[in-house]
C-alpha cells in the first residue's frame, strides 16, 4: 500500500484526542509521522500510545540523528535501533535530513549544513546506500533549512540534492518551508529549486511555519504555515502532482483540532488546484 493524502506529525500531547472516543477528531488526517528517536529503545506509555495510533493509521518514520553527512562512521547501534523500530511500526516511508549533526562522537542536536561539493555528494551517496542495504529498503532524504553556505560550494542546493539521490538511488522528502527559508537566507530562486529536483523521487512533502528575523529566517516550526509557503506548495504540486503532504509543528503546539483544521485547509488547496487543472 502506498502512502496517500494528508498527515500530521504525531505529538504526545495529542494522544488523548487521537485515541479518544470521537472519531471525528481525526477527520481528514490520513496518516501520522513519528520522530524515530523518540521511540528507539523505549517502552511504557509513549510506545504503547504510538502503537495504538499505528493500529488505526498508516505511519511514516522521520529521524533527526542519522547524521548522514558526518565524517564520523555511521552509528551501527543507532541503525540497529532504527531497524528494530521499523520492524515494529512497518512504516510506509523512512526519512532523515540531508545534513550532519556532529563529529568526533558528539551530537550537536541540530541539523547542520553541508558544503555542497562533489566530495560531499560521493560521501553522502555511499552512506545512503549503506543505510538502504542495512534497512533492506529505500530511504528518503529531506532538504534542511540552512543559515550559512560555504566558500567551498561547487553547486546549487537542488543540484546537490538531486546528485545524491541519483547516485544513491534514494528518494526525497521535500520540505517546501525549508526551500522558502533557505531561499530567503541565501537569495536563491525557489522556482529554480522546484524545477531542479527530480519529480519522480519526491515521495513526501513537509509544510511548516517559521520565524522571520528581518534579514534572515529561522526554521522554528512554531507557527501555522504562512500563505507564501502555501503559495510555493501550490507550485510544487503543479509540478510534482499530489504528493503525500503533512504539517510539522514542534513548538508552540496548538490543540489538535486546530492542526486538523489547518490540514483541511491544505487539502482544499490541492482539491481546488485539481479542479482548476481539470477545467
Amino acid at each position: 500500500m502506498a502512502l496517500e493524502g494528508f498527515g500530521l506529525g504525531l505529538r504526545p500531547q495529542h494522544f488523548p484526542d487521537i485515541l479518544g472516543d470521537d472519531p471525528d477528531a481525526t477527520a481528514g488526517v490520513d496518516w501520522f509521522e513519528i520522530i524515530s528517536e523518540n521511540f528507539i529503545n523505549v517502552g511504557g506509555p509513549p510506545l504503547r500510545n504510538m502503537m495504538l495510533v499505528r493500529e488505526r493509521f498508516p505511519m511514516v518514520m522521520h529521524g533527526v540523528s542519522l547524521s548522514i553527512g558526518s565524517t564520523d562512521p555511521l552509528d551501527m547501534d543507532y541503525l540497529a535501533g532504527l531497524k528494530a523500530l521499523a520492524d515494529l511500526v512497518e512504516p510506509e516511508l523512512i526519512s532523515d535530513h540531508l545534513c550532519w549533526t556532529g563529529v568526533h562522537g558528539l551530537n550537536m542536536h541540530d541539523l547542520l549544513p553541508l558544503p555542497m561539493t562533489e566530495e560531499t555528494v560521493e560521501h553522502v551517496a555511499g552512506r545512503v546506500r549503506q543505510v538502504q542495504d542495512y534497512l533492506g529498503r529505500q530511504f528518503m532524504l529531506e532538504n534542511a533549512s540552512t543559515y550559512v553556505t560555504f566558500e567551498e560550494d561547487e553547486m546549487t542546493e537542488w543540484a546537490f540534492l538531486s546528485a545524491i539521490c541519483e547516485r544513491a538511488d534514494c528518494n526525497i522528502l521535500l520540505d517546501v518551508n525549508n526551500i522558502y527559508v533557505s531561499g530567503f537566507n541565501h537569495g536563491f530562486s525557489t522556482d529554480a529549486y522546484l524545477n531542479g529536483v527530480p519529480a519522480e523521487c519526491i515521495k513526501q512533502i513537509h509544510l511548516a511555519g517559521h520565524e522571520h528575523n528581518g534579514d534572515y529566517i529561522v526554521d522554528t516550526h512554531d507557527e501555522p504555515v504562512p500563505d507564501y509557503v502555501l503559495a510555493l506548495y501550490e507550485k510544487a504540486i503543479d509540478r510534482f502532482g499530489m504528493v503525500p503532504t503533512m504539517i510539522e509543528r514542534d513548538a508552540n503546539i496548538p490543540p489538535f483540532a486546530e492542526l486538523v483544521r489547518e490540514l483541511q485547509g491544505v487539502r482544499r488547496i490541492v482539491e481546488e488546484r485539481r479542479t482548476m487543472v481539470l477545467a
Binding site: E37, G43, G44, D75, V103, F150
Partner: protein
C-alpha cells in the same frame, strides 16, 4: 578555499562548542547568519533538560538552575543520539561539583527525577507472576537468581525529596524544603505494569541491600545471608522470601534462573 569535508565539520563544531572562529573564513560572506546555529546549540540542550528536571528547577530557582545547566552542558557535550539521554550525567556531576557538592540536596533531587524518568519510558519486558515462584523446585532455590524489569531503578538519597518533587510537578508550593536523612536512604521507582504509572517508595536497609545484590546476580542463598545481618538467622529465609514476593507482585521481576536447571 578548498577545505575537506572533515576539516570543515571539525571547525564548524569547534565554533558551536568553544566559540572558535576558524570556520568563519569558509562561510559565504563570512556567514552573517551563523548566529542561528550558535544560539541553537546551548539553548536547545538547556530547554530539553529543563523539561526533565522540574523539581531541580523549583529547588534552585531560575537563575541558579539555568546557570547550572549551562555549566553542565559545557562540561558534557552530548554523545547521545536521542536528546532523551542528555541528563544522564547530571546527578553524578552535581554530587561531585565544586558548586553543589557541599549541598547534597541538589544531587538528591536530580537523581530522584532522573530515576523517575527512566521508570516512565524504559523498554517493556514480560513479567513473571507469583505462580511461577511457586513452581520453583526446592533444590533450585539456593542457586536461584533473578532478572529485573528495565523500568526498575534505585537511587541512594541524602534528602527526602519526594514531597518537594511532587509539589513542583503539580506546580504547587512545596510545604517546606526537602528534609535531610540521618543515613542515606535507597528509593526505588518502577512502572506499574497495568496502569503504566510510575510508582516509587523508600526501601528498608535490608531490602535495599538485598535488592542491590539480587540485581547484581546474587543467588537466593546469598540474599538470605545479607538479610540475616539485619534479623534473626532463622527468620532470614522467611524475610528474603517475603521480599521476593513483594518484588514479583510489584512487577519488578522478569526472569528466574538456577544455573540452567529447568522445571
Amino acid at each position: 578555499m578548498n577545505a575537506s569535508l572533515s576539516d570543515l565539520q571539525k571547525k564548524f563544531q569547534d565554533r558551536l562548542l568553544k566559540g572558535e572562529t576558524a570556520i568563519d573564513a569558509h562561510l559565504t560572506d563570512g556567514g552573517p547568519f551563523m548566529k542561528a546555529y550558535d544560539h541553537a546549540y546551548k539553548a536547545r540542550l538547556v530547554e530539553i533538560l529543563t523539561e526533565e528536571f522540574e523539581g531541580l528547577h523549583t529547588l534552585l530557582g531560575d537563575e541558579q538552575f539555568f546557570s547550572t545547566l549551562s555549566e553542565y552542558v559545557d562540561a558534557f557535550p552530548s554523545t547521545e543520539k536521542s536528546a532523551r539521554w542528555l541528563g544522564r550525567h547530571l546527578p553524578g556531576w552535581l554530587k561531585s561539583s565544586e558548586r553543589w557538592g557541599q549541598q547534597p540536596v541538589v544531587a538528591s533531587m536530580a537523581a530522584f527525577e532522573w530515576m523517575i524518568g527512566l521508570a516512565f519510558d524504559a523498554p517493556d519486558a514480560k513479567l513473571i507472576g507469583v505462580a511461577e515462584i511457586g513452581k520453583v523446585p526446592p533444590e533450585a532455590w539456593p542457586m536461584l537468581t533473578f532478572t529485573f524489569h528495565p523500568a526498575l531503578n534505585t537511587v541512594e538519597l541524602d534528602f527526602d525529596v519526594s514531597a518537594f518533587y511532587q509539589a513542583a510537578k503539580a506546580e504547587e508550593d512545596p510545604d517546606g524544603p526537602p528534609v535531610a536523612y540521618e543515613q542515606p536512604v535507597t528509593w526505588a521507582a518502577w512502572r506499574d505494569p497495568e496502569a503504566m504509572i510510575v510508582t516509587y517508595r523508600p526501601l528498608d536497609l535490608d531490602e535495599a541491600m538485598a535488592l542491590k545484590a539480587a540485581r547484581e546476580g546474587q543467588t537466593f542463598d546469598g540474599i538470605c545471608e545479607i538479610v540475616a545481618d539485619h534479623t534473626d538467622a532463622d527468620e532470614a529465609a522467611v524475610r528474603a522470601a517475603g521480599l521476593l514476593r513483594i518484588w514479583v507482585e510489584s512487577g519488578w521481576v522478569i526472569g528466574l534462573d538456577a544455573e540452567g536447571m529447568s522445571w
